[in-house]
C-alpha cells in the first residue's frame, strides 16, 4: 500500500509525462476500480429495469397520488429522522420532527397529507450516517453500493442502521403470517420506485451535464453529504467562496503550493474537503519558506490582477 502511494506521488510529480496511466487518483476514492465496476453495473440495472419502471409509474399515476405516496413514506421516515436529531443533540428539531409525525399521522390521514409543512413544521433530512459524522466519524473511502449507489464507509455503516430502523421494516419485521411479508416487500418496492421517480428530474440533468458521470456523481456526493451534515451551512469551500482574497492572488498562491507539493496540495481539493480541517501540505516547511517571500509574491499577484480582463 505504501509503495503504491509512493508510486502515485511520483506519478503526480511527473504529471505531464504520465498521461498513459488512465484516471488520476482521487484521495477520497482509493477503490476507484471496483467502485467504477459497481457504478457501471448499477447504471445498467437502472437503464434496463429501475428507470423504465419509475417512468411507467410516473406515467400511470397522477401527481397527487405520487405526492401522497411520498408523504406516506416521508412520515414513516420522520420518526427515525427525529430520533437522529435527538442523537445529534438538536432538541428543537427533534420536537419539530416528532410533532410532524403526530400531526401528519392523525390529521394527515396516516401521513398521506403533509399537514405539518403547512403548519410551518419544516421537513428535515437526517440519517444515521449524518449522526455518525456529527459524533466525529470521518467519511472514510468512497464506496459505491450495489443498487443503492454512492456512499462512503461511514455512510454505509449508517445506511445499515437506517435500513434496520426504517419503520416499514421495523414494524413488520416480526410479522408472522406469510402475506405480511409480501405486503412488506410490496411496500419496500413502492418506496423504492417512488423515490426513483422523484429523482428522475435530477438524473435527466446529470445525464446532460456530466463529462464523466462517475466523477461527477462522486464529487456531488461529497458536497451533498457535507451540506446535509452541517444542515445546509457547511464551512465555506476554500477556493471558490473565499471572500476578500483576490482571485488571481489566490490562484498564484495555489500554483505555488501546487509546484512545491507536486500537485497534491490542491486547496479545495478532495483531501481538505474530506477532513474539514485546514489543509496542511505534506511539506509544510517548504511551503512556508516559499511563502516567506511576500514582496515577490504580492508583486506577482498584483501583476496578474492588472492583467485580468
Amino acid at each position: 500500500m505504501i509503495r503504491c502511494l509512493a508510486a502515485l506521488a511520483a506519478a503526480a510529480l511527473l504529471a505531464s509525462g504520465c498521461a498513459t496511466t488512465g484516471g488520476a487518483p482521487d484521495p477520497r476514492d482509493p477503490w476507484e476500480g471496483g467502485n467504477r465496476a459497481i457504478f457501471e453495473f448499477n447504471d445498467g440495472l437502472d437503464r434496463a429495469l429501475i428507470r423504465p419502471t419509475a417512468e411507467a409509474y410516473r406515467f400511470v399515476t397522477p401527481q397527487i397520488v405520487r405526492t401522497g405516496v411520498t408523504n406516506f413514506f416521508g412520515n414513516l421516515q420522520d420518526i427515525w429522522i427525529g430520533t437522529n436529531q435527538l442523537l445529534q443533540g438538536k432538541i428543537e428539531l427533534w420536537v419539530n420532527d416528532w410533532a410532524r409525525v403526530l400531526f401528519n399521522t392523525t390529521f394527515g390521514l396516516g401521513g398521506v397529507l403533509d399537514i405539518a409543512s403547512e403548519m410551518r413544521l419544516e421537513k428535515h433530512d437526517e440519517d444515521f450516517g449524518q449522526t455518525l459524522a456529527v459524533w466525529g466519524a470521518p467519511f472514510g473511502p468512497y464506496v459505491v453500493l450495489p443498487v443503492f449507489g454512492p456512499s462512503s464507509v461511514r455512510d454505509t455503516a449508517g445506511f445499515a442502521v437506517d435500513f434496520y430502523m426504517y419503520p416499514t421494516f421495523w414494524i413488520l419485521r416480526n410479522a408472522r403470517p406469510e402475506h405480511w411479508v409480501s405486503w412488506r416487500n410490496s411496500l419496500a418496492g413502492l418506496a423504492f420506485v417512488n423515490s426513483r421517480a422523484n429523482a428522475l428530474a435530477v438524473t435527466d440533468v446529470l445525464e446532460q451535464a456530466a463529462l464523466d458521470r462517475y466523477a461527477y456523481v462522486r464529487s456531488a456526493f461529497f458536497q451533498r453529504r457535507l451540506n446535509q451534515i452541517y444542515d445546509g451551512n457547511p464551512p465555506p469551500a476554500p477556493r471558490s467562496a473565499a471572500p476578500g482574497i483576490p482571485t488571481k492572488a489566490a490562484a498564484q498562491l495555489l500554483e505555488l503550493l501546487d509546484a512545491v507539493d507536486g500537485g497534491r496540495a490542491d486547496a479545495g481539493g478532495p483531501a481538505s474537503r474530506e477532513t474539514f480541517e485546514p489543509r496542511v501540505p505534506m511539506n509544510y516547511d517548504a511551503v512556508l519558506a516559499a511563502a516567506n517571500r511576500p514582496a515577490q509574491l504580492v508583486a506577482k499577484a498584483g501583476e496578474a490582477d492588472r492583467q485580468e480582463p
Binding site: 484516471g23 445546509g232 501546487d258
Partner: protein
C-alpha cells in the same frame, strides 16, 4: 434627427444604467420570476422544445452570468496554464454545456414555487450569495444558492449550488481529471464531443 438619435440612445442605454443599481437578490428574483412566467405560458417549451428553451435561457438568463470567471474557477490552477486561445474555447464550450443543462433543469422546475431568503450582506459587499429554496410537495425543499460578484456593469453570477452541490466545484473535479489524462486540449476535446453528442440527441 439628432435629437431623435439622442432620445433613442437614452432609451437604449437607460436599462443598462439601471441595472447597476439593482440589488443582487432583486436581480435573481426578477429574472427567475420572469423566466418561470414565460415557461408557464409557453406550450412549446412545456412539451419539450429544447431549441426554444435554450433561446429563452440565452436571452434572459445568460447576460447575468460571468462565464469567464466560472470557467476559470472550474479549471483551478490549470486555467493559468492554458493559452488565451484555449481559455476562449474552454469558456465557449463550457457555456454551451451549461446552457443546455440549465435549460433541462429549468423545465422540470416549472410547477414548483421558489422562496427567496433575505440577503445577508453589508452595503459595501462586492461578493454575495443569494439564497433561494424550491419547494416541492412532500419533500424537503431544495436550496439554490447563487454566488454573485459585483462587476463594472452589474451583478453577475459565477457559481450556482443546488442542494449544496456547487456547479463549479463539481466540474473542477472532472476537469482536473481530464487535464491530467489528456492535457488541456484533451479537456477541450471531451467538452466538444459532449456538446456534439447532446446536439445530435436533440435532433432525433
Amino acid at each position: 434627427m439628432q435629437r431623435f438619435l439622442f432620445a433613442l440612445a437614452v432609451l437604449l442605454f437607460a436599462p443598462f444604467a439601471n441595472a447597476q443599481e439593482i440589488a443582487p437578490d432583486a436581480l435573481v428574483k426578477s429574472v427567475s420570476q420572469e423566466v418561470l412566467e414565460i415557461i408557464r405560458k409557453d406550450r412549446d417549451i412545456q412539451s419539450g422544445n429544447t431549441r426554444k428553451t435554450i433561446d429563452l435561457v440565452e436571452t434572459k438568463v445568460l447576460p447575468h452570468f460571468d462565464f469567464v470567471r466560472m470557467t476559470a474557477l472550474a479549471m483551478g490552477p490549470n486555467w493559468r496554464r492554458a493559452t488565451p486561445d484555449q481559455q476562449k474555447v474552454l469558456t465557449d464550450q463550457f457555456r454551451v454545456l451549461l446552457v443546455r443543462t440549465y435549460s433541462t433543469a429549468l423545465s422540470s422546475y416549472k410547477n414548483h414555487t421558489i422562496d427567496y431568503k433575505p440577503l445577508r450582506a453589508q452595503p459595501g459587499d462586492t461578493d454575495v450569495v443569494v439564497k433561494s429554496e424550491v419547494k416541492q410537495p412532500g419533500q424537503q425543499a431544495v436550496t439554490i444558492d447563487y454566488s454573485m460578484e459585483k462587476t463594472a456593469a452589474s451583478w453577475k453570477v459565477y457559481d450556482v449550488a443546488v442542494g449544496g452541490v456547487s456547479l463549479v466545484t463539481t466540474y473542477r473535479d472532472t476537469f482536473t481529471n481530464e487535464v491530467r489524462q489528456g492535457g488541456i486540449d484533451g479537456l477541450i476535446k471531451s467538452l466538444n464531443e459532449k456538446n456534439r453528442q447532446l446536439e445530435t440527441a436533440e435532433k432525433k
